[in-house]
Amino acid sequence: MDIQLKRGLLDVCVLAAIGDSDAYGYQIIKDISPHVEITQSTLYPILRRLEEADCLSVRSEEYNGRLRKYYRVTPAGKSRIKEFKQDWAEIQEIYSFIAERTQAT
């Protein structure tokens, strides 16, 4: 799959995996990996990107004597999921067009 396309999809995938609760990196990987192939080295840049875009807020909490980072979806992150869902109809239309035109090939 095209890297840019996959990157955009995974961004929304991570936002959706976190949902309305707080989640930490390993938990996100565990939630997504049964459906989409993802590793920590893929997830980490996504989390950073989403955090920088204000789609995620981060807080640290003590767990087992160490600090663990918890991510939460911000209103901007929720808007991003909504936009993606709205765009999906358009993407499907484009796909149908491509499929129809290339049916013979």
């Binding site: 565990k30 080295s41 840049p45 989390l47 600090l67 980072k69």
Partner: protein, 196 residues
């Protein structure tokens, strides 16, 4: 590979990116290993599950480059060095003034925490004085004065306990305030440096 060796290897691979990004990345992967271990993996399997340090460093560097954050090695031109030398009286004075103001703010906060203890101490002394006076008045048989001093001693004792309770949490609050100011200043400096 053990966690410590993995993090050392990752730090080596990340050389060249801003130190704050290296710190964040190492903290994230250290947490990832600990989480995997908490999930039942042994240390080496937890490290293996993350992929190699090379792969991780590459993904971080690619992301930084994609976001335009990969640092370029900035060499100071001769003109910049000249400006730095000529501008020394100005920027050094400003820097010193800034450091002075910051120190003064911190000293004021600490002084406030220390000075606040004068209140419970004063009320404790007042309690003692009023109690002694009440006793003396009682010995001299002046019951009205004795009752007045006893009342004053009780009021002082109450205020002493109240102000002591307030002062007890003051050092912690002041330390938290100093920490917050320091963290915000540091974040401001790092953000400016990264934004360049």
């Amino acid at each position: 590979m053990k966690k410590a060796a993995f993090l050392r290897s990752l730090a080596r691979q990340l050389k060249g990116i801003p130190p704050s990004d290296i710190r964040q990345t190492l903290a994230y992967y250290s947490e990832a290993v600990s989480d995997a271990m908490d999930d039942g993996l042994d240390e080496e399997a937890a490290v293996r599950s993350l992929g190699t340090a090379e792969e991780i460093a590459l993904s971080v560097k690619e992301e930084l480059a994609g976001g335009g954050k990969l640092p370029q090695t900035r060499k100071r031109s001769g003109f910049t060095v000249l400006l730095l030398i000529l501008g020394f009286p100005v920027w050094f004075s400003l820097l010193a003034a800034g450091a002075g103001i910051l120190t003064a703010v911190f000293v004021c906060i600490v002084a406030l925490a220390v000075a606040a203890w004068a209140l419970p101490l004063a009320f404790a002394a007042g309690t003692l004085y009023a109690a002694v006076c009440a006793l003396l008045a009682l010995v001299h048989g002046n019951l009205t004065v004795c009752a007045c001093f006893a009342g004053a001693a009780l009021v002082c004792a109450g205020l002493c306990v109240l102000t002591y309770q307030l002062c007890k949490s003051l050092p912690r609050r002041c330390a938290a305030l100093i920490r917050t100011i320091w963290t915000k200043l540091k974040a401001l400096c790092f953000r400016r440096r990264n934004a360049k």
